[in-house]
Symmetry: C2
Subunit: 330 residues, 2 copies
DNA sequence: CTGAAAGCGCTTACAG
DNA sequence: CTGAAAGCGCTTACAG
C-alpha cells in the first residue's frame, strides 16, 4: 500500500507538500514541484486513505440512507428512491452507505460510527424522530413524515390532495359508493391523510363512507372477498398504493369479476408497473425523481450551511387517468 | 464526541482495557472491571469510531456494491439484487457502500480509498475484469459475466438453458417461425448465450432463424413495427428481458394486435411485473433471492479465507408457463 | 489480568 | 512556497 509518505520520499519533499497537491491546493505549491508530484502520484497509482482522512479532518464524506427493516428495500418505491438518490450524491462527491435499521439506537450508532455527514430516512420513523434528532447533530432528511416534531426537515407529498383528486375523479365518473384500502397499519399518517382527503371530498358531495368500507392491507384474496361481500355494495375502490390495487384487481379478475366494469380502481404512486397492467391503472402520481433530487439538494445545502433552519417541503401530486375507472354516467 | 480515552479516565483504567471490553475480549479482563467499564459505556452512549478502527486494524468491514452507470440501479433486476444483498451483508456485520462506476480506474480508486474488504459487481464489466482483478487484492464477486478470465469468481445463471427452455416450449406449442429480441448491444454475452441456446434448439428441429428475425433493444414502437412488417412473418418472440417483452407487447396491443393470438411471447427474469400484466407473461425464471444469498455467502467465505480458489457458479433457470404463449397445435 | 509505547495515514495549525 | 510537530481515535505487539 502506497502512502503520502512514500510519495514524499520519492519526490524529495515533505508529506505536507504532497498532501497539498493531492487536495488541489496548488496555490500554495510551486508549479514545478506540483508537476513533479503529480507525475509520481499518477505513475504510482496512489489513492488517499479515506479512513485516515476522515479521522484527521472529521470529514467523512459519507451519507447514510436508512430504511426500516420491514418495508426495506424490496418495496419498488424505496428501490426507485435509492436508485435516484445514490447517483446524485455520488456526483456531488459523497459516498453512500445503505442500512436497514429499526431502532433509533441502531441509527445513532450507525451514524456515529461512520461519522456520517448527513442522513436520509426512507420510511416512517415517527416515534423515533425526536430521539434521532436529539442524538445526531448532523443534517437529517426525513421523508413522508407527519411527525409533529417541528425541528426536523421533511420532504413529503400532498397526500391529502391525493385523496381529494381520487374522490373528485370517481365522483365525476358517476360513482356514489366507495371503499378505501390503506397500505399500512392504523397509525400510518400518510395513509390517514389520503383517506381524509378522500372522505372530505366525498362528504362534501353528501355521500358518506361507512366503517365497513374502510379496509387495511392484508392478503389480497381476503381483501377481494371482503369487497365482493360488502353488505352495501360498492363500485369504486381507492387504494393507497398501486401494488395494493393490482393485487386486489388480480384476485377479482381470477374470480371472474371485471375491472373496471364491476369495480373501478384508483392507485397511488404511479409506479411503472401501473402502466403495464390491464386495465392500465388510473393512479395518483408522485414524481419520485424530482423528490429524490430535492432530497439531495436540501441535504447538501444543510451540510454546507449547518445553521439553515429546518424545512418542511410538500411536493404536488396529480391524477393520471388511465383505464381502471369506469364512467358510469349515462 | 466521546472516545475510548474518556471512558478510560472515568473508569480509572488504561485505554487498552477499555478497548478490550468494547471488542468483547472479556477473557483478558477481570469481571469486575469489565462490568464497571460496560456500565460507563452504556451510560455515556459511546460508539467506536470506525475510521480510526479501520485505520489501525486495516479492517474496514466495508463491502462495495458496484454497478455500471448506465444500467445503474433503476433496472428492476439490479434493484432487487441490491435489496436482497444489503440486509444479508448487514446481518453479517458488514457495511455496504453502493457506487455507480464505469471505469476500472474509478473502481480501483473507490475500493482502495475505503479499503473495502470485498466487492460485488452487478452488471457487466467484461473488458475491465482483468484490470480490476489485478489492481485489487480483495475478494471480488462478479455476476453474470462470461469473461474468459479464469482467475475470477463469478456467479451467473444458465443462460444457454434459458434459451433452450424457451425454444422447447414454443416448439411444443406448435410454433415454427421465431424472432429474438436481445436486451443489450451485440457484445452482451448473456444475450448471446440465450440466443445460442434458443437457436441450437430450433435448429435441432430443422428450423432456422434468419438475420431478419434477430432484433436488438431499441424504441419498443420501432421494434413492434419491425415485427409486424417482417417479410417472413413470425408467430413467436423470445425476449431476453421481461420488460422488453412487455414494452413490445404494449405497442402491439396499441396497434390492435393480439397477444398471444397474433404473437406469442416469452420473457426472461420472471420479475414480479410479469405476473401482473395481461396476458400474464410466460418467462424464464431466475431466483434472484437465491442468487443474492449465494453471492453473499461466497464473498464472505472468500473474505474469511483469502486463499480459497476462484469459483464459477451457475444457477439453474426454469420455465414459468403463463398466458403469453398460444398453443397453435390443432 | 493490565498497561505503556508505537503506529495506522492523514490533516490542522503554526512557523519560517 | 515549504516543512516539522502534534494529533485524530483506535489497535497491535509486547512487557509485566
Amino acid at each position: 500500500m502506497i502512502t503520502l509518505k512514500d510519495i514524499a520520499e520519492k519526490a524529495n519533499v515533505s508529506v505536507m507538500t504532497v498532501s497539498r497537491v493531492v487536495n488541489g491546493n496548488y496555490s500554495k505549491v510551486s508549479k514545478e514541484t506540483a508537476k513533479k508530484i503529480q507525475a509520481i502520484i499518477e505513475e504510482s497509482g496512489y489513492v488517499p486513505n479515506y479512513s485516515a482522512r476522515s479521522l484527521s479532518s472529521r470529514n467523512s464524506h459519507i451519507i447514510a440512507i436508512i430504511t426500516k427493516k420491514e418495508d426495506a428495500l424490496s418495496d419498488p418505491y424505496n428501490s426507485k428512491m435509492l436508485a435516484s438518490i445514490i447517483p446524485i450524491l455520488q456526483q456531488n462527491g459523497y459516498y453512500t452507505m445503505v442500512a436497514c435499521l429499526n431502532d433509533f439506537k441502531d441509527v445513532t450508532q450507525h451514524l456515529h460510527a461512520w461519522k456520517a455527514e448527513g442522513a436520509i430516512f426512507l420510511g416512517l420513523f415517527e416515534e423515533d424522530v425526536m430521539k434521532i434528532k436529539e442524538n445526531n447533530q448532523i443534517p437529517l432528511i426525513f421523508t413522508d413524515s407527519y411527525s409533529t416534531v417541528q425541528q426536523i426537515t421533511n420532504i413529503g407529498i400532498d397526500d391529502y390532495k391525493g385523496g381529494v383528486l381520487a374522490a373528485k375523479h370517481l365522483l365525476e365518473c358517476g360513482h356514489r359508493s366507495f371503499a378505501f384500502v390503506g397500505i399500512a397499519l392504523e397509525h400510518s399518517s400518510v395513509s390517514q391523510k389520503r383517506l381524509k382527503g378522500f372522505m372530505d371530498t366525498i362528504n362534501a358531495a353528501d355521500i358518506s363512507i361507512s366503517e365497513e368500507h374502510i379496509l387495511y392491507d392484508q392478503d389480497p384474496a381476503v381483501l377481494a372477498k371482503k369487497i365482493v361481500q360488502f353488505k352495501t355494495p360498492v363500485t369504486a375502490i381507492f387504494t393507497t398504493a398501486d401494488i395494493l390495487a393490482l393485487n386486489i384487481m388480480d384476485q377479482l379478475i381470477i374470480n371472474a369479476y371485471k375491472v373496471p366494469d364491476d369495480y373501478s380502481f384508483i392507485g397511488f404512486d404511479n409506479l411503472p408497473i401501473s402502466y403495464y397492467v390491464t386495465p392500465k391503472l388510473t393512479t395518483i402520481a408522485q414524481d419520485i425523481e424530482q423528490k429524490a433530487q430535492l432530497i439531495c439538494e436540501t441535504l447538501l445545502r444543510h451540510i454546507d450551511d449547518p445553521h439553515l433552519p429546518c424545512e418542511k417541503i410538500t411536493l404536488d401530486v396529480e391524477l393520471v387517468k388511465r383505464n381502471s375507472v369506469k364512467n358510469i354516467n349515462r
